[in-house]
Every structure is written in structure tokens, then in C-alpha cells.
Symmetry: C2
Subunit: 588 residues, 2 copies
């Protein structure tokens, strides 16, 4: 904390040099994503706070860090109360704090780190003058700032991507032409990766090259990244160059109509384009929806990846069933064992996110991450929650199972609650719905069984998942907080209701679902969609209260378990297969 | 059509005088509501089209009328194709038409008939210059325009309103003071009526005085309406005057901060206030939410009104059961009979909307209204849909039952579909949900039983209902198209799923629900809400496929029918009571 204290002083000295009386320091870097490389960990360097969502505001005489409910405890633990006011992002929002403490002052921001839309809202709500800075004063105050990542990038093969970069670019360029736009900025590296069939290693769990791109209406593209030599040739019409070349490329768009996505584009782009005399057309990233709607090859890749991932998970589950009561397992060692099982799977590239391995009360912490300090011995009669996933060249997985470590069935209350979570999970997995319905409209379907008992969970029911890309992918999500983007065939979404009793236990059950066109039924007047369950792993029947299930729910569990046994059984060793046959036997 | 043709010519002559090359003619009048008095029927006068949603655009050389899917047939029937292009509001929106045909021209609008938000969107999407006009050229071209309504207004008694105007005004004024606003404009006559405990008779089915008001932060209010002498004294602090006094009252707000509701306020207010040097604070009508959340007296009034309304409806149903197969009933005569039954009910003031009385294929027309031309004899073996409601001094009702006219049970397909509609209706009526959930999140709950069979209905599941006010009241609605306003205790909403097979039959089942706080269950960690069913009338079991119901659904139907019998039975004559006892007997 002495260290972060001197950093705050150093930053304040730089603010004076920059002619401002304050600075906004967000958690994201210029790619506005969930994960940042070490070179982008500005918020952590300055404040000590390492949560994945936050914002600091430094004024000359006071400073505050904001985060949301998931991280308030961590924020209090990691930051120095003598130097930082700790605030709740929603209940004590930054705009109110600015209004109270920065009225009449000039507060600076790095235009690469915020969208214009967010800045406009902050300006309107706070009444404070926000000033775009040419360089980030924090970077100047950070002497040993790590270099940006330089991982080798590689081509994502056509046998996994399913469509060539040429075909994808031509489709996106046609959308630009139809809208009368000469070009668009792709500020989201996920879009760059998908469009150009390019994968990188700049982040720990998402195979991205951190890059911006400009796509033109003639289907040519320019890519701008640090150390461009690490990028392989991407074919005719795709130029790859250094970030230094970006300003000139934006200036070259003078007089043209250029699409920017308001939710995903740093303000610096709009400012540069206006300066160059280009016309800005706010519109959706033209790649986001095609990326979300997996093509036939990506869908088959997802099925294949889930079968291999299921085999690895089932091997772990069989082992866990034998070892859980040994008293020797800890959260970290169990997660390491699962990772070892996945490592043997073909095309495995790494975890899609740090596994959440929580036992007993730790499982009630929704975003728990076991560390050497918190690592807990898994007890003999308790719930163990394991939420994990893999990156495979042909697909991304994400699966959660909650397991009972005791020898017999779990206590009645736990079974009742786990079964309600399962009922919600099944209700969504078996839903048929008409075209046009969006995630916010369907989220309640997975909650009703819990709501009936006055119970709920404080997170969305599910998020989109990429194809060997991010495990959290927009635009669709089963969440009231999400934009109502209609669910389309080819989207992959998680179905993960839960229930958490703080200090005691946590339950979550998660499969990935692939949306597909449903076969028409007699009398059907419009197109319907349904879900294909991708994830293949048994549920722990020690937690099931079978009497609570309706006949249709029982039939679905039996059908699903039979499918798991048929698809995963042949991939297992004899001992695992025997365990799996028991785990997948019809309900008694 | 010759008449409307000469009207169009007369209007065009006036456009030249006004110095514009076009005019927007919306369906609504300056109160922006669903219903308009004869003096506000500009769209119908000009075009012949009488649907409840529409817009005309007249240019010097061409003219178009726009409406939505409900009214496309009616639009084609009522308007002259030689003079009017007929367009679909959503698929061929006005902005696109303006862009194509009015580029570079000045198109006028009456600033009393549109919100600024809508005009800004139209301007942005069309690129056409829209010019505010001082007077409406159409009114000048309409020589025999009816006078504005002059119905007597009256005080809504405290025994029905439950809170005095003083108390309501003080609460709203406190909200203004907290927001630092000196006043607000109430441009919605429903808000004026509720705030001042005032009811009128300016519209056919909603007991409104068509008036604007200004509420100040000291809890005083000024009301502006045509013929103010018809308004009774409204107590200290409430001034009632003529519409002519409005400009001066707005000018008097110079230098002050004034709240306007962007969704409910004609552009003329913002233009006048800006001209006067007032500061506009866009914000929600401070009365809308208190009005939607009925107080204890309004809740009890709703229960009482529904009991009387139920008795009237049950009397009708018993009569209908005897007469349906006589071959003598028509849609209009049946609706008239129901109205006669309601007229005998205490505190009844009139229908809350024109009853939808549709038999056979007419029931598939969602907004069907029987007229002498369409009036149909009710057949012996078909579905009859009756959607109707009453205005009572203590509450507003809205109820739909679909009845089978045959002697035995309906055919299997009809029963299956009617039963799915009932299952959705029950699913919503029995929902428990946490605070914060809004209508768009819950709408799917009522659809699932239909979705399972590939069926759906193309309307929202339910709308808010006022307390002796409009039968369609915001801000909450069970609809994906509605704003996600959390449902609060005291809101009254309809629960009316349906199924329509065009050309054959239509099904809808509707009760009103009162949202209330739910008693906490063991383990419940946050507040939940539930619904109390207000409507009391049996479902027609000739349409029920009892084998499709779950045990819980069967139990609910039996519980509801027992309640109907217990509450309505004592209010009926002997013959009706005997019929009701059979209709409410436990399911076999």
C-alpha cells in the first residue's frame, strides 16, 4: 500500500503537467474488453484493486475507486482507505461523485479508454468538464510498465472457421455498401479475429490478437497492432501494420461516411475521424451478428469440442467420486486435476477462463477464484461447485456441475434447492420459442421453479459463447440487463441458473445451448427456434429430489443421461465408463 | 370518397397559404391519447380512415396514410386509392416515405400534435426539414369542425379516490423539489384527473376532462381546458381556467426549471418554454407511477367493482348458456344484453371500451368491432369471444371469456388450444416474482404452453388498467414492446393470452390481476410480489381438455371456481345461481 500511495502522488504530479485537475482511470484498456494484458492493468497498478470491473477517479485532493457488488469486499481489502474512497458503482455512481467533488474543475481522460456514449452520459449527469488528453498521464507515471503482448498470431484454419476471410469480408462489405458507408472501424478484437480467421495469444484465456481494423466497402481490410511482424499473411486485400499507421489511415477516410459502433469504440476514433473531416455513421459492428450466429462448420466444431470436453470432465467426475471423501482434495488441486484431464483432449488450447472451484461456503461466492490463501480442503459432506471450460481449436466450452461429496443423498433442503435449479435449467433447455424473442424475455423461464419458493439468483441466466473465441460473447444473453437482441439460429448461449446461500453453500448447473430452427408443428404459423444441448456430463443425482420432478422433467433427465452415456461412454476408459453407466442410469 | 377528395384539395390550398409544401396529420389530438373526441378526428375527416392508430402525410403532389398490421384491411377499405398511398407504419415507415418524396421540401406540423422526441427521430431518419406551424391548416380547411367537448366535470369523491388532492399534490411537489424543479407540465389528462380527483365526460369510454395542468413545487396547480365553467371548484391551490390562459402561464415560468415528460408532451410546450427562457428538465410525469400503484381504497374499490361486474357478467353468461343455440342471437344483440346486465349494477357509469363481441371467424380479428354491416348471427357450434369492461365509480373492469355454443364439449383441437391459452393465463396469475421484474420479462410465462405446440398470439399478454380511468394505462405492461418498468404492488394489469386462427376462430381468456407484496417464504432473501385475481367469472369447461392440466393447474381452476361461486353466487337470482353452481363445480 505504500507502493500504491507513492504511485498516486506520482500521477498527481503528472496531472499538473497535463493541465488538468483530475483523471479517469477505467479498468479496461483500449480494446474495452473484459480481460486486459499486464500492460493495460492501469487500475490495478494505481490502486491495488484487481477485480475485473472498476473505475478510479483521481482529483488533486481526493480519489475514489468504484466497483460493483461482486467486488466490494475485495476492493476494501486491496485498497488503502487513507488514500482511496471506496464506492459502489451503482449506488454511489461516479457521476454523482464528480458532481459533488469536481464541479468547476477540468477532469482529463484518455480518449482510447472510453466510448463517447459513456463520456457523454458522465458529462450530462455530473455537469463536469471532461478533457481529452493526448497522452495518458498514468502511463508517464508508470516507469516499469510492461510491454504490450507480442504473442505469435496464427491463421484459424478453414476446417474450423467454416468460411474464408474473403467470403466473410465480402458479406460485411455488402452491408456497408447497402448502408452507403465507405468503411467501418472494427474496434473489437473479437470481430477482427473472426472476420480475418485470425487467432492470437495476447490474453490468457481468449485467443485474441489485440488489434483494431478498418474494413472498406470493397472488402479490403487494414489491421493495426503492436509488433505486426508476428501476424502471418492474411491473404489478398488484408494489410497488417503497426499501430503507428492508424492515424494516417483514419485521415485517409476524409470526406467519407464511416461506421462506428457506439458501444465498442473508443472516443479517440470518432475524434480523429471528425478531425479528418469524415462523416460518422453510428451503427452496429457489422461482424458482431454473423460472428454470434455460428455457421455449419462452427456448429459441428462446437458439438465435437463438447464431446471431447465431456469425456475429460467425465473422467474427472469419476475420479472425484472416488476421491472426494479422502479428505486430501483441495479446491486448487481438484481444479488442477480437471485441467490435466482436459490437457489430454485433442485440439485443447487452454482454459476458457480460470476455473471456479468452490467448496462449502466458497461456492456461494459467485465469482470465486481459489488462491493459495483461500484454497480450502473439500469436506466430506458438502457441496462442491465446479465451473470451468476449455478452448479447443473447434470450439469453446463452459460447464458447471455442483456435486455432493457425502456417501448418501444430500440433506432435504439442499436437494430441494438443487432440484429447483435443475428444473429452471431444464425449462430453458427445452424451450421452443418464436423468432423475435430475445434473452431478456426468456430469462424468467429459468427462474420460475425458484421464484415459486421465494428464491432467486443475482446473475443473468446465460451469456453468449464464441467459437474458439471469448467465453463471454455478445450480443445475445439470457439476462434482463441485456439488450433485447432476438435469438437466432447458430447462437450459442449458456443456461446456468443457480442458488447461493452466503456463508453456507452455492449451487449452479450449466450447459451450453445451440439455438436452431425448430421443425414446424401442425398449425404453426411462423418460424420457431429451439435449443440443442451441447454440453455432455451427468448431473449428480445425490442432489436430486426426484419426487419434485414432473413426468416430462424426469423423461428429459433420463433422455439426456442416455445421450451422455451413448456419446461419452465410448470415449472413456473402462473404470470411468462403469462409473458413467451408473451416473446415467434411468431415475429410479 | 368524393368528399374526402375535395377535403384533400382544400387542405393543399391552405398549405400554400402557410408557406409549406407538406403537412403531418396524426391520429391523436393534443392529448396524445388512444381516444379522441369528434373535434380531434382530423385523420378520419381528411382520409376517411377511422382506425385508432395512424398518420397521414400530405405533400403538394402526393399523399400517404400509414397504419399498423391491425388496420391494413380497414385502411384499404376506407381510403381512396386514387388519392392516397396506403402504407404499413412499420414495414414502410413515414421517415422512409418522407426521405423518398419530400427531400428538400419544407413539411409543416402542428406542434400540439407530436412529441419533440418523435419529431427529432423523424427528422433524423428522413433528413427532411420539419416546420412548426402556428395554426393547423387542416382546422382552417375544416369548416364544420365540431366544437370541443363540453361535458360537465365532477369531483371524484374521496371514498373512491382514497387520498385527497392536497395529499397527492404535496407528494408530487416534493418530488419536484427534490429534483430541483420549480414546476412540471402535466400534459396527460389521466394524470390531471388522478392528481386533482377530477373526472369528466369528454371521451366516450374514459371519464376524462381533456385538460392540461401545471403543478408547481409549492403544490399549487393550474388547469387549462375548454369551457372551464363546467369544472367544479377543486379546492385551495387549484386554479382552473381557459386554454387561452396557457401561453401566459408558460411565460410566467421564465428562468425556472420545468419538468416535461418526453413521451407524453406535445412539442408546443417545450417550444413555448424555451421561448420564455425556462429551463427544460426532461423527466417522468411525477404522477404516472403513483397513479399506477393503486392505494388501499382504490384496491378495495377494484375488488368491489369486480364483484358487481362479475355478477352482471355471470347473469349474462347464464342467459347466454340458455339462448346460445336459439339461433336468434347476433354479436350486437349479445353485447347489448351484457351492457343491459351491467347497467343494473351499482356505481356503473358506462363501458370501459366498446365490447369486442365476435363469433366464429370474427373472433379471430383481434380488434374486431361488430357493426350493423358485419353483425353476425351466433352459430350453434362455434366459439364466441366476448371482451368487455365497465367503468364504475370505484374501479375499471376488463374481462374476456371465450364460450362454446354447442351442446356438448368442443372439438378436440379447439379444446387443446383453449386449454393451452388457459394454462398460460394460469401460469401468469399464479406467478411469484422478485421486486424489479418488469412486464417484458414476464410476458413469456403466459406463452410457454402455446409455444410448446408452435403456437403464439400477436399481441401483448396484458396492459395496465386505471382506477375509474383508462382501461389502457401505463407505464407497466406484460409486453415485449413495453418499457421495462418494474411491477409494483398496487398495479392492476390484465392477463389475456389468446390464440387466433384467421378465418376460423379466436380464443382469448382475460382476468385483471392486482399486484401485491407476497408473504415471505422460508429462506427468502428479498421481497417478492404476487397477483391477486380481481376478475370473477367462470371459464367455459366445454372448451377445457381437463387431461392436459397438471395437478396444480386443476387445483387452481377448482379453487378459482369455488371463489367465484362463493363471491358471486350470493349476488345472483336463483336461476343464475343454479347455473353458476354447475359452471363452478369441481372438475370431474
Amino acid at each position: 500500500m505504500t507502493e500504491t500511495s507513492s504511485r498516486l502522488d506520482a500521477l498527481r504530479a503528472r496531472l499538473r503537467d497535463a493541465g488538468v485537475e483530475g483523471l479517469l482511470i477505467p479498468r479496461s484498456d483500449e480494446f474495452l474488453g473484459e480481460y486486459v494484458p499486464p500492460s493495460g492493468e492501469r487500475l490495478a497498478w494505481l490502486t491495488g484493486f484487481t477485480g475485473s470491473a472498476g473505475l478510479a477517479i483521481v482529483l488533486t485532493d481526493r480519489a475514489a475507486v468504484f466497483t460493483d457488488g461482486r467486488y466490494t469486499t475485495q476492493l476494501a481489502h486491496q485498497t488503502d482507505p487513507a488514500r482511496w474512497e471506496r464506492r459502489h458503482m451503482v449506488e454511489e455512481p461516479p457521476a454523482a461523485w464528480l458532481k459533488a467533488h469536481a464541479a468547476g474543475r477540468r477532469v482529463g481522460y484518455d480518449p482510447w479508454l472510453h466510448t463517447e456514449a459513456w463520456l457523454a452520459k458522465l458529462r450530462a449527469e455530473s455537469g463536469v468538464e471532461l478533457v481529452a488528453l493526448a497522452g495518458n498521464p498514468l502511463d508517464a507515471a508508470w516507469p516499469d510498465r510492461p510491454a504490450p503482448p507480442e504473442a505469435r498470431a496464427r491463421v484459424h484454419e478453414l476446417r474450423f472457421a467454416g468460411a474464408s476471410s474473403e467470403v466473410k469480408r465480402e458479406a460485411a462489405a455488402a452491408a456497408l455498401r447497402e448502408a452507403g458507408e465507405a468503411a467501418c472501424v472494427l474496434a473489437d478484437p473479437h470481430s477482427v479475429a473472426w472476420l480475418l480467421n485470425l487467432r492470437g495469444g495476447d490474453l490468457a484465456h481468449t485467443p485474441l490478437l489485440l488489434a483494431f481494423a478498418i474494413l472498406r466497402d470493397d472488402a479490403t481490410a487494414s489491421v493495426f497492432c503492436h509488433a505486426p511482424a508476428r501476424v502471418p499473411p492474411l491473404g489478398d486485400g488484408v494489410w497488417v501494420g503497426s499501430r503507428d499507421a492508424l492515424p494516417a489511415a483514419l485521415r485517409a477516410l476524409a470526406g467519407q461516411r464511416v461506421r462506428l459502433d457506439a458501444d465498442a469504440t473508443p472516443a479517440a476514433f470518432a475524434q480523429a475521424l471528425r478531425g479528418a473531416g469524415a462523416e460518422i455513421a453510428w451503427g452496429e459492428d457489422p461482424v458482431r451478428l454473423p460472428r454470434a450466429c455460428k455457421n455449419a462448420v462452427e456448429r459441428q466444431g462446437a458439438r465435437d469440442a463438447h464431446r471431447r470436453d465431456g469425456a475429460a470432465l467425465v473422467r474427472f467426475l469419476a475420479w472425484f467420486a472416488r476421491e472426494a471423501r479422502s479428505g486430501l482434495l483441495t479446491e486448487m488441486s481438484a481444479a488442477a486435476r480437471l485441467l490435466a484431464c482436459r490437457r489430454e483432449a485433442e485440439l485443447f488450447q487452454g482454459e476458457s477462463f480460470p476455473a471456479i472451484s468452490g467448496s462449502g461456503p466458497n461456492a456461494a461466492v459467485i465469482h470465486y477464484r481459489a488462491t493459495p490463501e483461500t484454497d480450502r480442503r473439500i469436506g466430506a459432506e458438502e457441496c462442491y461447485l465446479l465451473d470451468s471450460g476449455g478452448q479447443y481449436l473447434d470450439g469453446t466450452t463452459d460447464v458447471t456441475r455442483t456435486l455432493w461429496t457425502g456417501p448418501g443423498p444430500a440433506p432435504a433442503e439442499l436437494r430441494e434447492r438443487w432440484t429447483r435449479v435443475l428444473q429452471g435449467h431444464i425449462a430453458l433447455a427445452t424451450l421452443r420459442f418464436p423468432q423475435g424473442a430475445a434473452g431478456p424475455h426468456l430469462d424468467a423461464i429459468a427462474r420460475r421453479a425458484l421464484w415459486d419458493a421465494g428464491l432467486d439468483y443475482d446473475h443473468g441466466t446465460g451469456h453468449g459463447v464464441g467459437s474458439f473465441l471469448s467465453v463471454h460473447e455478445g450480443p445475445a444473453a439470457f439476462s434482463r440487463a441485456a439488450k433485447p437482441v432476438p435469438i437466432r439460429a447458430g447462437m450459442i448461449l449458456s443456461d446456468e441458473p443457480g442458488f447461493y446461500l452466503p456463508g453456507q453453500y452455492g449451487i449452479r448447473i450449466e450447459n451450453l445451448l445451440l439455438a436452431r430452427d425448430a421443425e414446424a408443428l401442425p398449425g404453426q404459423a411462423k418460424p420457431f427456434l429451439e435449443f440443442e444441448t451441447l454440453t455432455l456430463a451427468p448431473y449428480d443425482r445425490a442432489l436430486l429430489d426426484v419426487a419434485r420432478l414432473s413426468p416430462a422433467e424426469r423423461a428429459w433427465v433420463d433422455w439426456y443421461h442416455a445421450r451422455v452415456l451413448a456419446e461419452i461412454g465410448p470415449l472413456c476408459d473402462a473404470e470411468t465408463r462403469e462409473w458413467l453407466a451408473g451416473a446415467c442410469a434411468p431415475l429410479g
